[in-house]
Symmetry: C2
Subunit: 151 residues, 2 copies
């Protein structure tokens, strides 16, 4: 009870965490979104593209689960990325209900070109924390996110 934070209940702490989390992400996003926008992409498109870029081809629905949007919205996003020649649909031979989204050469080239800058910008933005602090936070955020998704 001798300091402000210790006096808070678990509920208040969680609320505080949620608010602070929202603010922090909003602040980061504001900067990053301008950068992404300059590529002609929106945050969702970038998230999808980046996922395929780093994880390889994925069933469209699997992507939707990660990005947390409805399947019809995934169709919309994939359409847009396909029109921009950054990804391609590819049938799954084993299960013909499934369609993979796979990155094109142009998509790979784009991210190869942009990723270093993107990461550099993020480094600048996140420079408020030390390396150690980032590592701890990543670990904890993963725990938090995974738990939250299963509530």
């Amino acid at each position: 009870m001798d300091d402000k934070i210790q006096a808070q209940t678990e509920e208040e702490l969680s609320l505080r965490l949620f608010i602070v989390l929202t603010r922090a992400l909003n602040a980061i996003k504001k900067s990053v979104e301008e950068e992404i926008k300059s590529l002609g992409l929106n945050p969702t498109e970038f998230a999808v593209l980046e996922m395929i870029y780093s994880k390889g081809e994925q069933p469209i629905q699997k992507i939707g689960e990660k990005v947390l949007i409805a399947s019809s919205s995934m169709t919309y996003v994939v359409d847009k990325l396909e029109k921009k020649k950054l990804i391609q649909r590819k049938a799954c031979p084993e299960d013909r209900r499934i369609t993979y989204a796979t990155i094109t050469q142009a998509g790979t080239d784009l991210l190869d070109a942009v990723f270093p800058e993107h990461k550099l910008a993020l480094k600048e933005i996140c420079a408020g924390l030390t390396t150690e602090e980032k590592k701890v936070m990543i670990k904890q955020l993963k725990k938090l996110g995974q738990y939250a998704q299963n509530v």
Copy 2:
């Protein structure tokens, strides 16, 4: 170099942090938004209402800065909350360009009634972390957010 995380560069760590942050918040939001929706509010409206609830009346623009939306969008949000009788516009006598948003009795009553549940739900969602971990994370997120906003 003896573990996966240690091998990452500062850039990659920051990228990872951003991704994990996004996922964690999305997961939490998904749960919270349903709850908020059941009040007939959207996340932005709730954020605005909550800010006035806890911080007292605020110039409309100040709110917009916190929530990070354009001033015309603030007009839209304030209109909606005012139609729902949860907040009220109030002129500023000293500077007649300024309009305060102030919470009504109905707004206060609503949040008084809902806040305990809201916090409880958040507690459940955030139960993946211990009290100590939450406190640390709040502190770090604040640092991160404040720094990011000034980049």
